[in-house]
Amino acid sequence: MVASNGKLASLAEAAELARGARRVALGGWSFSRRPLAVAMHWAAHGLRFDELLVLTGGIETDLLVAAGVVQRVRGFYLGMEALGMGPGLKGGCEVIEETETSLMLGLNAAVEGASFLPLPARHGVALAQVRPDLRALRCPYTDEEQLAIPPVPIDVAYVHAWRADRQGNAVFAGHKAADRLLALAARQTVVTCEELVDDITAGGVEADLTEPLVSRVVHLPGGARPGGCLPGYEADWPALLDYAALERTAVAGWARARLEGLAR
């Protein structure tokens, strides 16, 4: 199948964009719409990059840490929620901590080309203790103490959508997360999707992510499993629990086996 504008790509081609990147973002939230097939591909093929940016870091983060794909993780939550922690996070990782607000500000600063955006210092008392890189300042108008949150530009963002067209317009269906903001802050964005459609607006639906922000489209049914992608499927708790019980050294093999299952 040939894309009308060349955006359609294979999983391997799209995953390769992250090789050696300074910062890669994965979209989705909790167990919803995580680009897990992409993460498994990196884990199975030994690809490496420096920093993973997530809002809530779940199984996708855990497996990338366990497989040694990433050097460090930036986000405001780590763990598999009620299911505890997987082998990656149990073993430890380097974390750049954010609060919900500081991460939104950093992403927005990248989008807007601002050198920083201010966070009221009272919101960042704990953050300032673990992030000595954050500079303090006083607001020139109110004299309020603030933390200057620097931009966090993204080299490549990966988001998993329910539907997409070949131009890169995508519909999320379930949790919207911050995927549009990630794409805005990214130099390149890859959309993996459950359904590749000709007319994304069929049925009066509007796209959540539009084509000027998207570099590649990968048709990847089941690409968020064992997480969920509504309306197609929900998170597979038994499989997630099986993952959480793995030894760290077994994660790359688990990823390979899952990918083979996806390909069949």
């Binding site: 430890g92 008392v125 704990a126 203790q129 673990v130 919207k176 997360a177």
Partner: protein
């Protein structure tokens, strides 16, 4: 439904989980918006119970499982929470919209029960621990909105399914949130519901407001920091039969409320059992 379920839907007295969620729901009734929190089983059940107690005319629910705002009355779900969160949703928010634009508008109007790793006699919160590369446990300073919630939630609500000397301490190891300091002097208010009692924290000090049925003064004293007053407190009123019936049959028929009490190998079994029950439940 197994034997245990059959017993729980009859007129059995409230167990610890039921005592906690019914008491927690008391503190949620007057919120405008309740934030559910990710995978927070007791908070979700208590919130849905509060909504049922007000016939849907009380608080709206913000559900992070799909980042929705809803007034729909429904049973609690954990493994299927994203789909459940979309039932009757008034809106699905993008995370930046909720975090950056909505939450700051909710000061004094939003409530959410959070489960800390530790809380101290000053009402300060320490939360999730993550190992670093050297295997040392470190704190997560910004965990999932606590910094923001400390400033806007009034009262700031906390729960502990198992109150002991490891989690209710004299001084927390690391301050993730300081809800009393986040407000003007005399304004901040923290309320905590545990498996033993209800506590409040103000700038004047901390004290027990009530202890649950069957909890002795001696047990409460033993598991509570010395700086917290626990003497002469009344017994927490238990839920009446109608409220228990609503909880057991309408709000939490799958027993989501039990998950936070399960540990070790039993927890995995409890999670799988809950998943099976929820999967068997038709969900729009």
């Amino acid at each position: 439904m197994n034997d245990a379920d059959t017993r729980s839907t009859a007129a059995a007295p409230a167990d610890v989980a039921e005592m906690m969620v019914c008491t927690m729901s008391d503190w949620l009734l007057r919120a405008e918006v309740i934030q559910l929190g990710l995978a927070s089983a007791l908070n979700q059940v208590a919130a849905l119970l509060a909504q049922a107690r007000t016939n849907g005319q009380g608080p709206a629910l913000e559900d992070p499982a799909a980042l929705t705002l809803t007034r729909a009355q429904r049973p609690a779900f954990l493994s299927r929470s994203e789909r459940a969160a979309q039932i009757g949703a008034l809106r699905r928010y993008e995370a930046p919209e909720w975090i950056g634009q909505m939450m700051p508008r909710l000061a004094g109007r939003v409530r959410q029960f959070v489960r800390p790793l530790q809380i101290d006699a000053q009402g300060r919160i320490n939360s999730l621990r993550v190992a670093d590369k050297q295997g040392r446990l470190r704190r997560f300073a910004g965990l999932a909105g606590l910094a923001e919630l400390a400033e806007i939630a009034q009262p700031f609500l906390v729960y502990l399914p198992q109150q002991d000397q490891r989690c209710f301490v004299d001084t927390v190891d690391f301050v993730v949130a300081d809800p009393l300091a986040a407000h003007a002097p005399g304004v901040g208010h923290v309320v905590m519901v545990t498996d033993l009692a209800v506590f409040e924290f103000t700038t004047v000090g901390a004290r027990a407001l009530s202890r649950h049925p069957g909890v002795t003064h001696e047990l409460l004293r033993e598991r509570t920091p010395a700086a917290v007053a626990v003497g002469g407190v009344p017994v927490t009123p238990g839920p009446d039969a109608a409220l228990l019936h609503t909880l057991r049959t309408q709000i939490d028929p799958h027993r989501v409320r039990d998950i936070e009490f399960a540990t070790g190998a039993a927890r995995r079994e409890a999670l799988l059992r809950l998943h099976a029950r929820e999967t068997a439940h038709a969900l729009a």
